[in-house]
Assembly symmetry: C2
Homo-oligomer: 141 residues x 2
DNA sequence: AGAATATATGTAGAGTTGTTCAGACGTTAA
DNA sequence: TTAACGTCTGAACAACTCTACATATATTCT
């Protein structure tokens, strides 16, 4: 099965002992599987994206793009309750997306990961909104 | 009235009289709120990230980084059932993350959005894995 | 000391999500 | 035509997520 063997499956496929699924381009499949990141990396990646999949957390992180903020100000900025903000920040603290600086009874949160900042910027340009302080020109026409 | 008769902004900071939550830095809060993207944009952003928050879908999209693939090969590559792949692709088709080319009874899917490709690349570097043959400029010493 | 404050956390319930199973649809081969 | 095939879809169910409420912890003020 070398070269451009496309849909060479006119005869029953299961004959091949342990192949449980149909294959059309076995070479591609094997090549891509070889390049596929480890299970744990894919999982970590999905977790990071999952943290960015909630509008409330997105607003929190967008707010933090400008610099650190305390919990109550984050609540006021995002429209979430302080409890919801605290729960959200706990999730974000786990994988070290945000970090906390404590001053007395206040807790000031800030972004701890430049990759997440880039993900947010990229995503914001994707949905048509200019990034936070990077692309700020085009508005109306 | 469902509760919340407790502390409401008693600190004489600089909060306006009509503000329902405590504020520490009202100027920052107002500035960030002014810069906050529209509700719909934040929602769209969360939806996109949500599509990337499942390991199965991430594997599908990583496989598609190399070019188009049919459903059965995607199943073989990702380890998902063909039904699960089809369901996943349906979700990804909606916001036009992937596109489909039909040839007979086969359906070949490919990435339809360069932003998503960039998000994946960025995310993959984040979790420590080099991108799909694209980002590999790590210099050690 | 006690009271007020700022944040953190436990829990329960409604809502959402991903998978599997069964079957439908359109296409190709016999 | 019938049969096999690749893909798509709906329903059901477990697993997960988000929010609100109550409470806990730690800090500051009087």
């Amino acid at each position: 099965m070398t070269g451009t063997a496309r849909a060479l499956r006119t005869t029953p496929r299961r004959a091949g002992a342990d192949c449980a699924v149909r294959l059309v381009d076995a070479d591609r499949v094997e090549a891509v599987r070889a390049r596929m990141p480890a299970e744990s990396d894919v999982g970590d990646l999905a977790v990071i994206f999952g943290l960015l999949s909630d509008p409330g957390r997105v607003r929190i992180l967008i707010a933090l793009l400008d610099g650190e903020m305390c919990v109550c100000d984050l609540a006021a900025t995002t429209g979430l309750s302080e409890s919801a903000v605290s729960h959200a920040l706990r999730l974000l603290r786990g994988p070290r997306v945000v970090q906390v600086r404590r001053a007395g009874r206040m807790a000031y949160y800030s972004l701890a990961d430049s990759h997440v900042r880039m993900l947010l910027d990229l995503g914001l340009t994707h949905v048509g909104h200019a990034g936070q302080g990077r692309l700020q020109a085009v508005s109306n026409s």
